[in-house]
Symmetry: D3
Subunit: 341 residues, 6 copies
């Protein structure tokens, strides 16, 4: 196997799941999920470091790297009940964003074509373009909606003279036709960017963006219900893109463009769970974890748990669909387990 492995550091897999090699389809043809590292921060407008995101997210746990994580909450093992493989990193030259994104798009497309769900570990948010487009290339342009957790809309046009960067992927996705603007749901926006011109562009495309004020006023659950209903209208699948900076900097300090006033870690995990339990998720990325700015790896751990929460929920959804069961969030942890006679 000529697997590329890790661009930075040793060749490890996400919490010890088995490796696969994107150059050899047989190594992942039966996968449910393929994890892909995108160690790229060449699109970052401010603090870099997300190139070390994939490595940090793969490692950020205190339990053995044994490829198993039974979820207390969901009573599934997202790494065992699904076939989860890790393809290692895609080689992404930091100084050539166009080439780097192209290589990633091809990788994601391969995974999707195999029938597996790609889970891409960023890297900065510029990778959302190849991530979502790679999926849509297979499932059909316009057939995949986007639920996008972020402090920032990422719909900018040109920055530092370039069309490509971590502030622009969502505009590029819509402009390319891969995704429909009116099936683009954004959750957690706040702060002072972008300006009116870009907001007008977003409105014209029919985007639905939930700023934190609206979320606080209406409640997060209400907002997620609305977003979910739009996401599955005339679309076959949902791409979930999680920028870790949707959380408050207190919960996620290790990121490039921290914006005060965000979600708690608990709210993000619960939201990811709900979406992956209820909607037909066809692709995921978790981005903007910047280890050099992290504090005791808490941001990397959060991103690690976002991945686990998503995989656990997908596993649970499949089991519930197969068994005709359903999940009850209020059921006590030990309820239904054998008690001493």
């Amino acid at each position: 196997m000529t697997r590329y492995g890790a661009q930075f550091g040793p060749d490890i897999t996400f919490l010890g799941v088995p490796p696969c090699d994107l150059d050899h389809e047989s190594t992942y043809s039966d996968a449910d999920v393929v994890i892909v590292g995108a160690p790229f921060d060449g699109g970052t407008s401010h603090r870099p470091g997300t190139r070390f995101g994939p490595q940090a997210i793969r490692m950020a746990d205190y339990l053995p790297h044994d490829g198993s994580r039974p979820s207390l909450a969901l009573r599934t093992d997202g790494l065992k009940d699904l076939t989860v493989l890790d393809a290692g990193d895609v080689e992404m030259p930091p100084g050539d964003i166009v080439k780097a994104l192209g290589v990633l798009e091809a990788a994601v497309e391969k995974v999707t074509r195999s029938g597996a769900i790609p889970v891409v570990l960023g890297g900065d948010h510029s990778i959302a373009f190849p991530d979502a487009k790679g999926v849509a290339n297979v499932l059909g342009h316009g057939r995949v909606s986007m639920i996008h957790f972020d402090a920032h809309a990422d719909t900018g046009d040109i920055e530092f003279g370039s069309l490509w960067g971590h502030g622009q992927p969502m505009r590029r996705l819509i402009e390319s036709g891969a995704l429909r603007g009116d099936r683009f749901l954004q959750v957690g926006l706040r702060g002072y960017w972008p300006g009116p011109e870009t907001l007008d562009w977003m409105a014209e495309r029919g985007m639905r963006s939930f700023e934190m004020t609206e979320i606080v006023q209406r409640g997060l659950t209400d907002v997620l219900i609305e977003a979910s209903s739009i996401a599955v209208d005339e679309c076959d699948g949902v791409f979930l893109s999680v920028d870790i900076d949707v959380c408050d900097p207190g919960h996620a300090p290790g990121t490039g463009t921290p914006e005060p006033g965000g979600l708690t870690a608990r709210e993000l995990l619960d939201s990811v769970r709900r979406i992956c339990l209820e909607l037909p998720v066809v692709g995921i990325d978790v981005v903007e974890v910047s280890p050099p700015y992290d504090s005791s790896d808490i941001t990397a751990a959060l991103a690690n748990r976002v991945v686990l929460e998503a995989l656990s929920a997908i596993a649970r959804k499949r089991r519930d669909e197969r068994d005709g069961t359903s999940w009850d969030p209020a059921r006590p942890l030990l309820h239904g387990r054998p008690e001493a006679g």
Copy 2:
């Protein structure tokens, strides 16, 4: 122009707004807001470092320093829709608190006399005395109420042998007659200071202090409504003093006297917005950001956003008053923008 500039580091302005010089009134006579740096930690009883607060607050953003910040939530640009100038720092010798506070009081008074709102970047909380007194000197002693976000009452008497320090400014303000005790509203107090004697003093002056237990029990919104109604009773203006340690140390680690159990960053921003939208704010300070104790600058970023939230809300309030419009927190971000035909 003989502008003093920055006491520490290069001479920069808050996110790139134009400079002015307090020694030349013509440079700020048409300002709506004048930012003043108070790089002073000589009143700090424990961890110092707030002398670098003004520099850190001015710089703590990942967007260009272009003097423009269009608020997503409020649909105004607090730096453009108002005339906001930055007077640089006031020279404050760290070892001579009496002199340092006197110079600051004179500076704030100048700003107020010009008709602008002073926004003072601290510095430790000892500066609240010159900040609020400087305003009251112009608007009238007893005519300005105080809304004070803080973990600590700051009504101590003598510390390390001195009447002046960051634990005492609120007592000094009331004793001086500049502010009325019964128009003094404190939000976020908690912990184990001050002791009964000081609390008695506070009660005697008719202060209204909302400890976190009461806030949790009643809800923050309810508390703010009560505070606001007191603040405008027989007073013409409100001074808003934000000690960043009102937030929980998880959200604001970079401060001198962190007290667990505080507000979230989101709650603070929403509170500041409400006050500046609804009340006649005549002066603001944001204090106790201590960069050497910060983690990836998240505390400085929070203070920066407190300032922006306040300015955005003031701008919005003025526009609404002029246009007869009103702000609706539940309105979606893109609502009302042009949609493609």
Copy 3:
């Protein structure tokens, strides 16, 4: 006095309370509370450092170390209204967990026998075994219930070839007969540990474990009320064990096995207060503070306040019982204090 003092660093006491010496009963025979340091991380499965926890918790405050802390919320001084003494550390060799835990058990037993409440500052969570067992040895096996705040159940069996470690104390306590499984209340569990086999074991023992999903769904207050009612059913006393990692890593980064999605600091403090106000608490430990992973000491400060909150509430409970009064969380801070005539 041949007091052992501190295993690491200078011999200091918790915020300056008087010292006592466990080898001389007369030094603590009239104590209400005896603080004991357990500077041990030999049971830690991942990040060590909790050996410095006792020192850090004792020191983590910005107020003078004067043995007095009047609580704003509870209107008592937990350090003055009770007789609180600090016995220093128990000598615990890091490489000999069996010996180390044995010495601690003896120390806790001594304190309990004297009639005082032991408050043990960890140290990793392996110390919960000697802490709770030491109490139960005196009050009677099966007569003490446990309320256990933690992200982890700590009911594992064997780790790194050892029966003893910070993932196993709760199993050992139940197996030893010291505590009843069906009076074992766990609050805050989450994540991916333990696996089904251990959960079955827990269910068989009748444990009641509140995972975060249930807590979010039902509300923390509701959960605490249920836990409290179980805790006093056929038990004479409650042991309160607080693993600081029950809080979200944003609020408590300085710990060995941080698990995203936990309680806020505010929620923990309010929970501790409620339990100590309402239940017959007979022993407390606060564990898993790891200073080398902390950020500006905010985790140590939180643990310090957990202790203070508990002591303040115990003092208040005793006063209310004596005076026939009761505590009202909605009462304003300054209410009832003398006002100027």
Copy 4:
């Protein structure tokens, strides 16, 4: 003036020297030295962050930013006795290295053409190509020698699929014909890179590379004398390129590829002084300062002093040449100053 200013953060100049604008020649036509920021880390193979190098180097001092620094050692003021201007940053898109380096080369060429010495603040070492080539474009290809302080030879060929990166600039410079391989002096190499093939290439080009073993064995002074004599043989000017990682990580932790066993800070400063005092330096760059990995800004401070040492020595050299004086390193600091009569 439409000066671009700073790519990241506020527009400041090196320790307060006056600004100039490369788009307007009149603003720098009389400069002796023009400082140019190259905030680029798109060529970095490992830890990024050097994009913040220019900002950090400009600010890293505790003295006022007043454009004056009288050297105790050299008795000149490198910022006053020369006309030193700061052109701000060149805009360098992080994801497009070819474009970024091209823009920088044009900027350096402009400065050289004006007769000033360009001092480029990096940024990663990929910028050495445009820095030295920009100078050689004006002074003549083959007429400029290179003295290169570094732990690494930077003569690699292709990395991450790219010809351009911080491990390759020296190869590109020689291949381009801008610099002669046999006038390329490297000081401080060590460690395990590059491999034999690249070393052969270097030997074929006649490079002279002083590895640390040779330096320790012979003494640094001896090595510098040899390097200096080669540098001026058939060359008209010397380009001095200082990669801060030539110093031991203990002295310069804030860098991307730290290699243990390097020079002390003192040795680097003394070497830079010697070279600038004795040789016709026509261009300088100081690279690889990565603030997110720094400790209390000591690496940025060292780079700041490398610039000051160079400018002080150039000023002293010009004065000595004009006045026929010479500098004596053993002369006491206060010698020759007026003594009280």
Copy 5:
């Protein structure tokens, strides 16, 4: 293969060398060097964290983890010219030092018996006992001398009630008879430990300990020559034990008991090279790297280079012995390489 792998984190090998499994001799029977991780800090008297030392040392490099490191200085590839395998970690329960050390001793003995040189990555210095004893068990008690770089003599008797800890291994080694006291060479001692009683014990055993004062006075080279000549007198092999705290804390901050006034990183690397080039080294350990106290991983990087320097020198020694060549430290890096005709 049932390789245990890593006790903490993913199963990686030292810079990508092939793995082996100590439970299957065939996997390492042809090795020249076997690397063994000893992730143990249960013997640490103060700051823990060395349990993460093996992982950090294996990873601390910016070059690809490709199992190759051609030394510039020695012109060998220590990882390729020798057969170097990595056996992963030995499972060492943190709370049971006697058991932990026993398991490690067995592992080292296995490696030595196979004819390979064990290179043990610590862990705290308590592991020197099993490391050196494991070797001597095979080569003969009394036939192996020790060269020991350290700030501390590590010849204490009892600490925290235990005979075993990182302050005692050297005493235990001599008492056990495995090593002769009069072939025990210590380099770099300094500070205030141990006291006279222990020094008397050391003198009685004929130890030769070079305190920093003597080293500064005589020169390090002189000291190493004396030590080397003793080391090979009536001994067949030399064990090299490097406690990273022999270096000054400026060069190696990430350690448990930093003692100011030590060697530079350069001096340590040169010393290790000399010893491995000149003496029959039969075992090595590198200990006391504590990642939680490190700064930007510079201490881990230094330990990584100590290993590489040793392996490079051993490879060079074997080649020189085979080819009849010798190494000249003053030879220029590129000397002898093909030059263009």
Copy 6:
């Protein structure tokens, strides 16, 4: 005893030496050395934090706080062979430098008058004025010389409008007549401060300042010999003032105004030893340790060892004078100890 104790944190003594109380002479009348904490950073021109210096220096050791430190190098126990007491801190209000320095001067004078040597732990360097003047007030103005290790001359005139600060104490000392300018020896100066005017003032007073260039050129030993001979010419005692920033920032990052290119920790310790062994030292201060900027406490540890080195040498000097012995730096550590017969 009404001992003031510690201004910040718990009341501890230097490594556990016995306490004394300056308000009660009997508690220190037989002391050889009295340690005094000066927790003051109100004179700091840049990074504050030295107020925590005394606490950090007292605690910075990994050995037990048992009041004993047998020096390996000097074969004395500086804490036991002398009577060393710790008076705790002097209360120094951070915002009132004139008052703060006055209180310290009185304290130092008391100690000197008792016959003990004052060792003052700073605090910023403004305290050198009361430290040396307090001694000279007793021993006679003009009768005490100064040996001053520092990167900075500290002879400035007015800063931030004040005569008093950490850049001015040496000027104030000479102007006051307490110390003679021509018995003022400065070692380690470097960088870009002060300017010519101040240098002229220094020259006029006959100061002898050794800049690093002269030190490198001549060798440190040579410089110390010259300084020592001046120091005892017509003076009865020597005051030793050690600013930790005399060391390179790599060795002492935790300081307010780090200046690259300084001494190594080893050089500083050797210099302090030499001076205290050879000269009649009558007072010492160690200043400018700023814990918030430190890295793993290495700067505090260095300051701690400077104190220990000084006390050990003073103890050795007294023993040698009493016994007619002398110290030989080249004597091996174990030489002269009993060997097994």
